[in-house]
Amino acid sequence: MTLQPVTVTKPVVEVRHLAKAYSDTVVLRDVCLSIPAGTVTAMIGPSGAGKSTLLRCLNLLEQPDSGEIVIDGHRLTAGERVNPKDLAALRRSAGMVFQHFNLFPHLTVLRNVSLPQERVLKKSRAEANAKSMELLTRMGLADKADQYPSRCSGGQQQRIAIARALALDPRVMLFDEPTSSLDPEVGVEVLEVMKELAAEGMTMIVVTHEMAFAANVADELVVMADGGIIESGPPRQILQDPQHERTRRFLRAVLDR
């Protein structure tokens, strides 16, 4: 019998007792999460479970009411004033990919990827463009550099958005339903890129309804419902033997359709 070597790495993302409510509606209740470096965490659960809100709290697109977030050493405590420098540092460490891409439609593909490098990392135009072209080439989009985003397909736009986020050398990539607004066939292009990233050791948190991706690529599966984490662990284990009744109900709904 051989034992797998256990590598204990320092978590890149730590969430402690995070809570958030919109007036009377509780969207997150006491969420704790620890994401080790180099792992892929898939978050699943019914809509309204708080998955996207949790992800959006991580880079403060939403303000949590209480709790603490640590990303790559940048600590943020809810309720305390965040100075813009810390906020920028935190957001640079966490690359975000949105369901609707959120590219800048008035800029070319190349400018979309280069502009944040110039403004956030203070790179020169030439340095930024070199990095952008390297990433676009990796995404198979080098020929789209001078096009505008609207001339690209949804799958291409999402890969441009991934390149734009990667260009800032983030420590963790946050994916908020990256394939939900894409045709299934087009979504595959994006999933392929995400698999490559995972294989290269990028730390990733992925909110998704792609159960195959969750099962095959993720190291950890987190099931959320009603604003809390109800179950987490190795994906296969949870998919085959869910412990929680709510998880069973959700998995029946997504797998037996």
Binding site: H100, N102, R119, V120, S150, R151
Partner: protein, 218 residues
């Protein structure tokens, strides 16, 4: 019919001279009014109470009061407060106010129409508030506002005809004085109308063309 064209040719130098003043007045009002309008666009939604109050005051009065009232106020009213401006300067001041008020609201509408997702996209990348404004919100907001701003500019050009009431020698007042000295009112007002149209109609075409060419990749 021949006499119409002969009269037209006789009146032309005076009318074209007036047209130049009309265009000058339009241009100056836009030159000063649009930047002030951009400030108002931010001012009416500013957190700072004083800035917001001042912006809302000038925007609401500028849009609420007819341009004719503002023109008369600046030319006949201000001397009572010991401020005496030339007719052209007072007309320019009044129409700058009108321009700033209307364009402020048009620009604000454009800025607010920039999709929230793009702003979030920019923020999530760690871009500062100022950079997001400069590289994402303003370029796109201005693009959205541009067609209505061009439409406003055409209206403003036509509104300059009101400046005849404060003795600015623009196209309308040239037409009026030519008419009153020759009694050929019909000819002279048709000629003036044609000159206004000769500017307004191509300007409208230009704005439609510009709108199309700018929204090509959006």
């Amino acid at each position: 019919m021949n006499t119409f064209f002969e009269d037209f040719a006789t009146f032309a130098p005076a009318l074209v001279g007036g047209l130049r003043i009309s265009l000058l007045l339009t241009g100056a009002s836009l030159l000063f009014g649009l930047p002030i309008g951009l400030i108002f666009a931010f001012g009416v939604t500013a957190k700072n109470k004083i800035l917001r109050f001042v912006s809302v005051f000038f925007v609401e009065v500028g849009r609420g009061a007819p341009a004719l009232v503002l023109l008369q106020l600046m030319y006949y009213g201000l001397p009572n407060a010991n401020i005496t401006l030339s007719s052209l300067a007072s007309a320019c001041l009044a129409l700058t106010w009108t321009t700033a008020a209307y364009s402020g609201e048009l620009i604000r509408g454009g800025l607010q129409a920039v999709p929230e997702g793009e702003i979030e996209g920019s923020e999530a990348l760690g871009m500062s508030r100022a950079d997001t404004m400069r590289f994402v919100i303003i370029p796109q907001g201005m693009r959205i506002a541009l067609p209505s701003l061009m439409g406003f500019a055409v209206l403003l050009f036509q509104t300059t005809s009101l400046a005849y009431s404060v003795a600015v020698p623009e196209l309308m007042s040239q037409a009026y004085s030519t008419g009153s000295s020759t009694f050929k009112y019909l000819t002279v007002f048709i000629a003036a109308g044609l000159l206004y149209a000769a500017i307004s109609i191509p300007a409208t075409w230009l704005s439609v063309w510009l709108e199309k060419s700018m929204s090509k990749h959006l």
